[in-house]
Symmetry: C2
Amino acid sequence: MESLLGGAVASKPLSAHQLQVIADRFRALGEPTRLHILSALRGGEQNVTQLIELTGFGQANLSKHLQLLLRLGFVDRRKEGVSTFYRLADQDVLRLCEIMCGRLEKEVARQRKLFAS
Amino acid sequence: MESLLGGAVASKPLSAHQLQVIADRFRALGEPTRLHILSALRGGEQNVTQLIELTGFGQANLSKHLQLLLRLGFVDRRKEGVSTFYRLADQDVLRLCEIMCGRLEKEVARQRKLFAS
DNA sequence: GCACTATATCACTATATAGTTATATTAGCA
DNA sequence: TGCTAATATAACTATATAGTGATATAGTGC
């Protein structure tokens, strides 16, 4: 699949469907609740009960968010008896958040400059 | 600001406000319309009339999305007479989309494997 | 089988926002 | 000044979804 921005060469326009698929994934990260869940999984896999304790979210709400993150490939899971352990599927979420946080740092620096001038 | 996933060392938990600020930015990229607009800016700055032609979106709709992208720092603008030229603020959107597209490639490869087996 | 626990799903309400139409603002020009 | 064009904003409708409470499903032990 072509990257949205491509390399130096302008890549072909993406179809409406491709744009939708990509947007779905960004939107999955566009909820503080889901970022909180992903953040709680940084330390390693957790079952749902542990996530409830870690995050304070309701069980049904948490479960629904986990299904979404699973469907879009941001988390994997492993069933052990009656429990389900969720974990980050890979490092991509970390990389994505690093870029976003870098943007925020730049933003803060700019604001500071405005005050200073 | 701390990155959501941090380095090897687990970073401090993010405050609700920080999570919200990061989520806002992911959500901004979580709409196909806005991705389409950003994609249309890959080739260089465009004014609103040009963007209308390139994307086929309504003027008011387009303007509203541009204000959002501007407010969150994904685009910059330059006014020239009665026109406003928008451009990508930096390369971050490209980097973010590359990661997402990479995920999709892996997803497709996995699907193909399932069929093959 | 029954009871208990963990997780997932359903049904519902409330809120956010994408798209649209109409209007306001602003710049250039006669 | 008035006229036109480009962009932004306001008001509205329709849709999507976050959160919640109730219920369903599945595993474990009695």
